[in-house]
Amino acid sequence: MPAGVQSRRAARVREVADIALAIRTENLTKIYDVGWGRQHVGIEELNLEVETGQIFGLVGPNGSGKTTTLKLLLGLIFPTSGAGEVLGEPMGDPRSKNRVGYLPEGPYFYEHLNAPELLRMYGSLFGMGGAALDARIQELLELVDMWDRRDYRIADYSRGMLQRVGVAQSLINNPDLLFFDEPTSGLDPIGAKDIREVILRLRGEGKTVFLCSHLLKEMEPICDNIAILSRGRLVTEGSVAELLRGDRLRYRLELREPDEELLAKLQGNAEEVLWLEETCRLLFADRQAAFDAAAQAEDEGGYVLAAGPDRRTLEEVFIDAVGEVSVDASDL
């Protein structure tokens, strides 16, 4: 075999090996015994693979099993069957805990402490101390915009302040993997934006972020990959781009109340015609057909609202995947 081919193959092998998995689950199942012989499926045969260095979003309606998955991965609860690994160690293994950070949903902390005391307590659990810990505490409280309010007792915190300090405590050990459960829940728009920026910054530092949320509009712009859970089952999974594109990319032309004659001419090349109140949406298999139709509509006095790739929103993907029955519209 030529030396060049050999070295290219070796490089490829190294490349594949470098794609380390931060999280891997295999047929992970959790069934809760709810008494009187009844059972509730928390998670059913969940197979997930989360690569290092990405933001992975686990989305689903309330009660779909997001928090159950998180708790299983952290070893807070135990699987009924199946297995999982976190940073190469079995779920809940103390060795992986040194490299993991966790922000629970609606975090709550010891009320007698203030933020630096809380972070000092958590930092000491990782063997941190002295000036290095003090510097880390200041850095994190500045990051979450709590340094100026550091002397407040946690008992006096608002929900948003608790969330910010929750993020800070999850980062105290400079973890490689972060689990965030509804990180922007209860935050005002500025607070939510700040947290999203922190998450993006963490990815920039090469960290893996595992996000659980039902706030799809917040997940769409920041996640690399998304898995959608419904009633404990994984219904779809993929990169955000793949999910939004669907099975194949189509092109759309949107017209405002076209007359019947124009519509009859245009829809011959269209694969699908949809009416959304006053808007008529024509979907074409290829880009050229869509733009030809747009030009024709313009020429014939039609009112063209938009033309371009037919990308769905995550909300549409979610509703398709989960089914409208189990979606609480107020959650979206």
Binding site: L74, I77, F78, P104, P107, Y122, L125, F126, Q169, S170
Partner: protein
Amino acid sequence: MRAIFRVARATYYEGWRKRFLNGILVFAILIIGSSWVFTYLQPGAELKMLIDVGLGSIRFFGMLIAVFLGSRLVPDEIEKRTIYTLLSKPVTRMQFLLGKFFGGLATVVSNMALMGLTFYIVFMIKAPQFAQPTEDSPAYKMEFMYENIAKAVLLSFFEMAVVMGIAVVASVVFSWILAAIFSFFVYFTGQMSEFFGHLADPDTGASPVARVVLLTVYRVLPHFENFDVRESILTDVPVIWSYVGMTIGMGVLYITIVLALGYLFFNQREV
């Protein structure tokens, strides 16, 4: 050790913030501080009354604090979800449980120490007035009593450590209310453990099945009456250090077994 200490420290300070415990402490100090008033109820036996009310109050209120605090330590962590951030860090369940126990125990002992101090002050002021003349010098008699009272308070600390251990472990298995009821039950039946031992005696005519049950109860229950040395103090019987040491040793052994059992349950418990 570091993790246990950190959890214990947080638990200790949280314990002091619990208002119902503060209420019990204030009430206990009021009762103990005014224990000399009760001496008027039994003329001629004032010293007995003073010791009975004082030491009895320390034990009773200490037990209340140990049960109510102990039975809520772990459930509160779960309910408030503070346990999630702790157990997701390098803290094992054993360290968490021990941290909660020692932190809670430190709170109980601090509370009891304040009660003990209050009683000591009252005793120092009032007891010399009530002491009966004996062959020994009054000074020697009082010194003897101070030492015995210190031993009684020390034994109470360890008695409450056992109660606290039972309450903490029961709360891992049951809800906190059930755990509190269970702990009270064990405490009060444990005061009568010798009685169960006597009932199991072949001479009592109990059936073999009843004897096995009674003997099991006798062996399983902590012998709380061993921690109560008021009778010895009142009858001028010295509470010897070997007895104190043996009783404390048995208490520590009991706590170790209870906590080990608690760990087995807690290790399987989902939070």
